[in-house]
């Protein structure tokens, strides 16, 4: 009958040895790092070639080539220097501020200098939430492009609680407001999950549609006779009660608030939830193979709804966080597109919570720095979107980066494909 064979394995092989692990980490980091680097270079070219001072020199290129190149170089370096300063702060000024504080007890200088780097963390916070939202979706096999709409929903939810409920102490009002934001986002995301579970409709198109519905709904709420309009002549809500504020850790002008730590907490929670619990296992299984999940007894439809709700709640937290921690009221043009940038984050972080955290810190830093770049070097902030698009492009098609830097391709190819048509 069957041939006699040696036993397959006598003991389970332990997880890969430490040396191999370092090599793996390096391999995983190469493409993302190079993508960011290349994106910065390409963006640099765009900044240089579109600068008015460079364009005026263009007709005279052949006569004074060096002038042109020098101007280009100057443009780019000024821009990126401003970016760095905006992102990380002027450490000379910070140290001097510390000295002054120690010497005279006056912390104003320090705070002014420290604003920049702290602001990067502030800017990163909504990215962390939004990036987690998309990453959770990916892990569950769902493409949540609706982060933006869910973010708005979260902001509205928390704004409503912040404005309309008074007389509560902060330790009730704040969690309530946060909870409202979470819930609103969960519901808005859950709709797409529900439609996928019951009618098999692809969540991509539904979340896109829901985005626009929410934008219009927000417009309505803040319109002239809208229910959430404040008394001011502008399309915005009234201010929320201070009991719903997310407290700042340091006085003005530093805006660093508790939202950052909540975001960190979310990172750890999501990691634990997805990899250490049964429900997380179910989400990941459905993401990897819905048919096998069904066969294994997992209620796939319920998991779709749960995944989208969880994803939506995280995006909602992004909105709630911004509202309760920063402006304390809501405007119609509430978000610079966190929901879409979050897709880049999730891809950059390979849908891993800690990867997303790192990517979010990067993006927040970039975006913060870009505001400084706009004010000092007159480079419009939107270059960041261009940079982000390039980063996603390079990560999604690693062949390009590999070709540029002459790298070898790895043995296996892991390709995640999310799009499978619209359903229906």
């Amino acid at each position: 009958m069957a041939e006699a064979t040696a036993k397959s394995i006598s003991k389970p092989v332990k997880a890969p040895a430490p040396v191999g692990a370092w090599r793996d980490i390096l391999n995983t980091l190469t493409i993302p790092v190079l993508s960011i680097f290349t994106a910065l270079i390409v963006s640099g070219f765009i900044i240089a070639f579109t600068a008015p001072e460079v364009l005026t020199l263009l007709p005279n290129f052949w006569e004074h080539p060096l002038d042109l190149i020098a101007t280009m170089w100057h443009t780019v370096t000024t821009a990126y220097a401003a970016l760095l300063q905006g992102a990380f702060g002027d450490w000379g000024a910070i140290l001097r501020g510390v000295q002054t504080w120690v010497a005279t007890g006056n912390e104003t200088d320090f705070l002014r200098a420290a604003r920049d780097p702290f602001e990067s963390l502030v800017a990163a916070t909504p990215y962390i939430f939004a990036g987690l939202a998309v990453a959770v979706g990916f892990k569950g096999g769902l493409f949540n492009i609706g982060g933006e709409g869910q973010l708005f929903a979260g902001a509205i939810g928390s704004a409503w609680v912040g404005i309309n409920i008074s007389g509560l102490p902060w330790f009730i009002h704040l969690p309530l407001a946060l909870g409202a934001g979470l819930l609103a986002g969960a519901i808005w995301g859950g709709i797409a999950g529900f439609l996928k579970a019951t009618r098999g409709v692809n969540e991509v198109i539904n979340t896109i549609m829901l985005n626009y519905i929410m934008f219009l709904f927000t417009d309505f709420l803040l319109s002239e006779r809208g229910p959430m309009r404040g008394s001011a002549g502008a399309p915005r809500t009234p201010e929320i009660y201070p009991s719903a504020y997310l407290p700042h850790l340091l006085p003005d002008p530093v805006r660093f608030h508790w939202g950052f730590f909540i975001a960190l907490g979310a990172v750890f929670f999501i990691y634990w939830f997805l990899w250490k619990t049964t429900i997380g296992f179910e989400i990941r299984t459905v993401g990897a193979s819905p048919t096998a999940a069904k066969y294994a007894g997992i209620a796939v439809g319920r998991i779709f709804v749960l995944t989208m709700a969880l994803s939506g709640s995280l995006a909602g937290m992004a909105g709630a966080n911004e509202l309760l921690g920063l402006n304390h009221y809501m405007v119609a043009a509430f978000s610079p597109g966190y929901g879409f940038d979050a897709i880049a984050l999730a891809l950059l972080g390979k849908s891993n919570p800690f990867g997303v955290l790192a990517a979010a810190l990067l993006f927040g830093t970039l975006r913060n720095g870009a505001t400084r770049m706009q004010s000092i070097a007159s480079v419009p902030v939107d270059i960041i979107s261009v940079m982000q698009a390039l980063i996603i492009a390079f990560i999604a098609a690693p062949e390009i980066v590999r070709w540029i830097y002459r790298l070898r391709a790895p043995a296996q190819k892991e390709r995640e494909v999310f799009a499978r048509g619209w359903g229906g």
Binding site: M1, S8, P12, V13, T278, A288, S289, A292
Partner: protein, 526 residues
């Protein structure tokens, strides 16, 4: 006369696998040449090379005496080579005409498609070769047998005279197989030359003029039906003496475990797939469900395993009503299921082996406490199972996708067979596996039977059914035509049942068109 086609030294490598190893093959004009080998021997690869879907690493192709470079299907077609693939290459939402003319369209006025002209040509080919088909019907409305005719017509439309057919009988009833053989002999008489890929010995001996056997990518030998027999061919295919059936002690059936009463189940398109089916399976026996693919077996298994809604009827397992049970509830009742599609349903290929080994149990102790999972327990259990079921894998942490087909199935078996199971539902458990794995799985199924498990075996392979089952029920068009004892029946009798022919009735001409198609044709829609 020189051969019309010659393959010399064809070699094709894939990462980690030498699929074709310096293969030589000749095809004479007007002959039917069978390419025989078990699953994974390299037959389809070789034909894909010939048809231009793969490029060979070495070797040459000589057509009608001239060496030809075939870079793609267009070249093959230009040489008069046509291929009918194992999985049909037909577009369901197009008509027969559109499918046939695709890539070689007739035009009027320089741009407009000329469907009428093509339809005319199809009808003409239809009559000439006995391949009745209505050109205006949509592929999705045609039965599998008719679709196959369309595939053949596609080749004839392009004036192919070297025809390759890849496992054409996998989806046909024995009578449809006879029909097909008649068509092929007809084509042969018209001067066509045919290569016919299969792993079924009977067909080869019945149809072929010459037989080439492949094993592990190499040509083992070429012979003729008159000079060989089944056992010899099997030995060439597998490389050693193969016992073609499992040795088993007679069954000792006990109490009824699974009772199915008047089950009605609908398929994806809302047609009735399982039509008032009733049967019982007892502990310690194997009930085999035989039948050609597509007669409701898939839907029946899905209904019994909680993956498809039951429209009416009742399913009882050991007294519990499980008609509308979920897969998890069935699992808790100690029901094991080896699914038909191992890669889609049975495994999460991207997950490590250890996860797949506990895929149905992860949620309960010892693998989880509340919602927190216990990874040491999972690792331990995984290691034990890999050991016990002889799963060949470098470790339990590798991705299951990296295992061979046979070992992937063993992972599923290891998972399902661990623990006390009262009912085992196994659907196509050895499809696409090498002989060693097939023997192993058969052995374990019989083992479970002897331990007292009730086994429901569903398979399209008649040999497997006959070899493992104690009783055999035949499904045809959603009904159980008859249930017989395995020892008391023959392959021929089962074949007739599978084609819907009851006991005494025997029609002279077996049905080759469904009544609906006949009616459509007669009503002038043809």
């Amino acid at each position: 006369m020189p051969p019309i086609l010659e393959l010399r030294g064809i070699t094709k490598r894939f990462p980690g696998v030498l699929a074709n190893d310096h293969i030589d093959l000749t095809l004479n004009q007007g002959e039917i040449h069978a390419l025989l080998g078990e699953n994974g021997a390299g037959k389809t690869t070789l034909m894909n090379v010939l048809y231009g879907l793969y490029h060979p690493d070495e070797g040459e192709i000589i057509v009608r005496g001239k060496p030809i470079k075939i870079t793609g299907p267009r070249d093959a077609i230009a040489q008069g080579i046509g291929m009918v693939h194992q999985h049909f290459m037909l577009i369901p939402v197009f008509t027969v005409t559109e499918n046939v003319m695709l890539g070689d369209e007739s035009i009027t006025n320089g741009i407009v498609l000329d469907r009428k002209k093509v339809a005319r040509e199809i009808r003409e080919l239809s009559t000439r070769y006995g391949l009745e088909v209505n050109p205006d019907l949509y592929i999705k409305d045609l039965s599998v047998g008719i679709q196959q005719r369309v595939e053949i017509i596609k080749l004839l439309y392009r004036k192919a005279d070297i025809l390759i057919l890849d496992e054409p009988t996998a989806v046909l009833t024995p009578q449809e197989v006879d029909d097909l053989f008649q068509v092929l002999r007809n084509l042969k008489e018209h001067g066509n030359s045919i290569i016919f890929i299969t792993h079924k010995l009977r067909e080869v001996l019945a149809l072929a003029d010459r037989i080439t056997v492949l094993r592990l990518g190499k040509v083992i030998g070429t012979t003729e039906p008159s000079k060989t027999n089944s056992a010899e061919l099997a030995r060439m295919m597998v490389g050693r003496s193969v016992i073609l059936s499992v040795e088993k002690a007679p069954a000792k059936p006990q109490g009824v475990v699974l009772k199915v009463e008047n089950l009605v189940v609908r398929d994806e398109r809302h047609n009735i797939a399982v039509n008032d089916v009733s049967f019982e399976v007892r502990a310690g026996e194997v009930l085999g469900i035989a039948g050609v693919q597509g007669n409701g077996q898939t839907e029946l298994v899905q209904a019994l395993t909680g993956l498809r809604r039951v429209e009416s009827g009742r399913v009882t397992i050991l007294g519990h009503d499980t008609t509308h049970a979920t897969p998890r509830q069935l699992f808790e009742l100690d029901v094991a299921h080896v699914p038909e599609d191992r890669q889609q349903d049975g495994l999460v290929l991207n997950f490590p082996v250890e996860d797949n080994l506990v895929l149905n149990e992860y949620y309960r102790p010892p693998f989880a406490k509340g919602i927190v999972m216990n990874f040491e327990a999972i690792e331990r259990a995984a290691a034990e199972r890999v050991q016990e079921f002889d799963v060949r894998t470098p470790s339990i942490f590798v991705k299951t996708a990296n295992l061979s087909g046979g070992n992937q199935q063993k992972v599923i078996v290891a998972r399902e067979f661990s623990g006390p199971i009262k009912l085992l539902i196994a659907s196509q458990p050895t499809r696409g596996l090498d002989v060693g794995s097939i023997e192993y799985i058969h052995k374990r199924i019989i083992e479970k039977r002897d331990e007292g498990t009730a086994v429901l075996l569903v398979s399209n392979e008649l040999d497997e059914i006959m070899s493992l089952s104690d009783r055999i029920a035949v499904m045809f068009k959603g009904k159980i035509i008859d249930t017989v004892n395995a020892e008391e029946t023959t392959k021929e009798a089962l074949g007739l049942l599978m084609a819907g022919v009851h006991g005494e009735e025997q029609s002279v001409t077996p049905p080759s068109m469904t009544p609906e198609e006949k009616a459509l044709m007669q009503n002038g829609i043809a």
